[in-house]
């Protein structure tokens, strides 16, 4: 009894701080979860290698910022420009890696309509190759990012400080997610994606280029994943094995919201981020990663279709 009451007291104290941190994490999970959900929509499979897209995005931004920022202290204008550049490079590299993955690990299997098990194994292999390759080429130590801004407290909510980092995540996250949502809902590409997700055969008969749509789906998901990797690595740095845990969590988020469902992925990501953050009051630090997994198992047991339901092809 006293165990819980004391923990709730902690929670009460730090509630707003944890909430802000949780929402920030939630945006990152949401952006990665989008990648899982979109690929799931068109291919009906979990892209196991998505964690490496996340990781390579972080590395790309790391190198760019190292080059741009170095030891200087950028002024406000430079900060914004550098930040946008880092976001773009993270996203672009993420998209390219995702495209490469699709080309190398998936397309040959699609060509001969291989069984699903083959896709999973191929993706796992690609994931292991990629992250160890990056480890080999860029070292296996944590590289700390030169943030292009100083992390000040911008304002406070109920006494909880909100730092620049959170503002950045919020702005980038909202921009990306809204843009993507509109893109999928209204553009020609979006129509193609939704058509393929609903019925690939019919879509191809109606003149949708399946290969191109799938490739673009990977790239869109990869772009968001890469950006998320960069945002994630700002406080903790980039390291070759960094993708595994956040990606597992993001996958849990995608399932929580209803896999195949874009808005579900965002909702799932935010919920998961907040739940995980608040659970700090109850779970010791080493086991915090277990929370997301617990959520995943719970969702799969109770409602495998997620909160908003599996809306394959009717995303957005």
């Amino acid at each position: 009894m006293s165990y819980f009451s004391s923990h709730f007291a902690t929670l009460g104290h730090e509630f707003w701080g944890l909430l802000v941190g949780g929402i920030a994490n939630g945006f990152i999970y949401a952006m990665v979860a989008i990648g899982y959900t979109m690929v799931y929509g068109v291919l009906r499979l979990i892209n196991f290698a998505h964690s490496e897209v996340f990781m390579t995005g972080a590395f790309a931004s790391f190198f760019l910022l190292k080059f741009l920022v170095g030891n200087s202290t950028p002024n406000a204008f430079e900060s914004v420009v550098y930040l946008i550049a880092a976001v773009l490079i993270g996203g672009i590299v993420g998209a390219l890696v995702a495209l490469l993955l699709e080309r190398v690990a998936y397309r040959p299997l699609r060509r001969r309509s291989a069984p699903k098990l083959a896709y999973l194994i191929s993706a796992i292999g690609a994931s292991y190759f990629l992250y160890n390759f990056v480890g080999k080429e860029f070292g296996r130590i944590n590289l700390s990012i030169d943030a292009p801004y100083t992390n000040n407290t911008v304002f406070t909510i109920f006494g909880a400080p909100v730092q620049t980092y959170y503002i950045v995540i919020f702005f980038v996250g909202v921009t990306m997610l809204v843009t993507l949502d509109r893109l999928v809902a209204t553009s020609k590409l979006g129509h193609g994606i939704r058509a393929v997700a609903q019925d690939a055969e019919t879509a191809s008969l109606m003149g949708v280029n399946i290969d191109r749509t799938i490739a673009l789906t990977f790239m869109l998901g990869g772009f968001l994943g890469g950006v998320a990797g960069f945002l994630y690595s700002i406080p903790v740095g980039a390291v070759y094995g960094m993708g595994f845990t956040p990606a597992l969590k993001a996958f849990s988020a995608a399932v929580l919201g209803g896999i195949g469902n874009l808005r579900g992925a965002v909702l799932g990501g935010l919920i998961l981020g907040v739940v995980e953050s608040l659970s700090v009051a109850f779970v010791s630090g080493a086991y915090i990663d277990v929370v997301a997994f617990g959520v995943l198992v719970l969702v799969l047991l109770v409602r495998p279709t997620g909160i908003l339901g599996e809306r394959l092809g009717r995303s957005a």
């Binding site: 068109v42 291919l43 009906r44 499979l45 979990i46 196991f48 790391f62 190198f63 690990a105 040959p108 299997l109 699609r110 060509r111 001969r112 309509s113 291989a114 069984p115 699903k116 098990l117 083959a118 896709y119 999973l120 194994i121 191929s122 796992i124 292999g125 690609a126 994931s127 292991y128 190759f129 160890n132 390759f133 480890g135 080999k136 080429e137 860029f138 070292g139 130590i141 590289l143 997700a197 690939a200 055969e201 191809s204 280029n209 399946i210 290969d211 595994f244 597992l248 996958f251 399932v255 080493a286 086991y287 990663d289 277990v290 997994f293 995943l296 198992v297 799969l300 047991l301 495998p304």
Partner: protein, 463 residues
């Protein structure tokens, strides 16, 4: 211009060139974060001198090794092929087609052939320690080859027979190893009933423990689609790792334990102690491998094995015949878990220590590679594949060539998985049944039960 780049031959050359460059970089020196290009430039010779890259000895080593592996594999395959043809379709020219369409009537013939192979292999294995007397080699063969074979045979039941992708397989291995440490009284947790038990007592305890965990994890998750299972088991493996790495009071945390006693046997007048010499361990582990082989191959050809095939091929039809799919899946999962738990005991009792780094998720991938490489579902294939891959890994560990860094092992294994899935999805020595299933799935005749609704489908070649 588009026509020019669209030329298939050019594309093939381009692809070959890219793969070649990739291999050069893969076998090149390690880079680092402060000089991001050093790994790449270093791969093409020192100080970017163009001709430098023709010299490095890595080329010689690389080509040599590739040649040896290729030679071994193709000679084994040729022999197998010759035997099969001899036994089944003497002088038949269209056996390749008939083999996929008509099943052999002379199963017994084939069986005796296979038995002959196994007998030869066993004779060689029994003689092996006299052939290779170097103790460091013997230790490697025990710990890096035979134990891995035990694990691969167990995973083959889950992935090969039942068609379930278990990425948290390492967790059961860890459970087995830590149970050994616990039972023998080597952990901070007091052993059961306060007695420091003999290691042999750990065997049943570990099997039961691992099996129990397998059943508890399996019952809720095996209802789900195959890809969900993969990710849930992945998470399970990670949790077990987190637990053993962080619970200092229970498992010894990140330092684990190195207090496990030598394997010994003391029953009345009969006494035996497995000491520091690897040879007795070699024979013991070999015996375990042989037992696994016998037990699992009779399992494959039993009612249970056939039910797994039925579920794998068409779960709905299997269920309509009265087969309880979940029960059989949990069964496969539990057998796999028990095998891994058993292998954990074997390892712990030989290395005398258990530490968390042995039990990272990557280890499951290593075992998966053995199963995939040989041919999942084929015990013969898994044994051969395991021998080839782990034999090679043992060689690399024992006398690493300058191009090889032990940390890069998983880079190679990952690449191998992709290459296998693209070019030889049924493995190098596939079971004929599995090959047939694959052909039928790819031909759209049989349903793909890992996921009934197939999103991907044949797409026309782009022009």
């Amino acid at each position: 211009m588009k026509n020019f780049f669209g030329n298939p031959r050019l594309q093939r050359y381009g692809r070959t060139l890219l793969i070649l460059l990739l291999i050069i970089v893969m076998t090149g020196p390690e880079g680092n974060g402060s000089q991001p290009t050093s790994g790449f430039t270093g791969s093409f010779g020192n100080h970017m001198s163009f001709f430098g890259f023709f010299y490095p000895q890595r080329w010689v080593v690389f080509v040599l090794l590739a040649g040896i592996i290729y030679g071994v594999i193709s000679s084994v395959k040729l022999t197998v092929h010759w035997w099969r043809n001899r036994a089944i379709f003497r002088g038949d020219t269209y056996q390749r087609i008939s083999r996929t369409v008509v099943a052999t009537k002379r199963r017994s013939r084939l069986k005796s052939t296979r038995l002959g192979f196994y007998a030869l292999g066993l004779a060689f294995a029994l003689y092996f320690p006299h052939l290779v007397t170097d103790q460091s080699w013997q230790t490697l063969v025990v710990q890096d080859v035979l134990v891995y074979l035990l694990l691969a045979l167990g995973l083959n039941v889950v992935t090969g027979f039942a068609g379930l992708l278990d990425l948290g397989y390492v967790a059961f291995y860890a459970i087995g190893a830590y149970t050994t440490a616990w039972v023998t009284g080597s952990l901070p947790t007091p052993p059961p009933f306060g007695v420091h038990w003999n290691t042999f007592v750990a065997i049943p305890v570990a099997i039961v423990f691992a099996m129990l965990c397998g059943v508890l994890l399996g019952i809720p998750t095996l209802r789900l689609r195959g890809d969900y299972l993969a990710i849930v088991t992945l998470g399970f493996g990670e949790i077990v790792y987190l637990f053993i790495n962080n619970s200092y009071g229970i498992t010894g945390g990140s330092t684990g334990t190195n207090q496990i006693p030598f394997l010994s046997f003391h029953l009345g007048p009969i006494k035996y102690l497995w000491g520091l010499i690897p040879e007795p361990y070699y024979y013991l582990t070999l015996a375990f491998v042989v037992i696994f082989l016998i037990v699992f191959s009779s399992l494959e050809h039993s009612r249970v094995g056939r039910s797994w095939v039925a579920i794998r091929e068409d779960e709905v039809a299997a269920e309509s015949l009265g087969i309880h799919p979940l029960k059989y899946k949990v069964m496969a999962f539990a057998i796999g878990a028990a095998s891994a738990g058993f292998a954990g005991v074997v390892t712990a009792s030989q290395t005398l220590f258990v530490t968390p780094p042995t039990f990272t998720i990557s280890f499951s991938i290593n075992i998966l590679v053995l199963v995939i490489f040989g041919g999942m579902g084929s015990i013969f294939g898994v044994v051969l594949g395991g021998l080839v891959v782990q034999g090679f890994v043992a060689y690399l560990t024992h006398s690493p060539p300058s191009v090889y860094n032990a940390a890069d092992l998983y880079m190679y294994l990952g690449a191998l998985l992709v290459v296998m899935m693209i070019y030889r999805p049924a493995g190098l020595f596939p079971s004929r049944r599995r090959l047939r299933e694959l052909h039928l799935i790819e031909g759209g005749v049989a349903p793909d039960t890992l996921q009934v609704e197939i999103g991907a489908h044949r797409v026309q070649e782009d022009v």
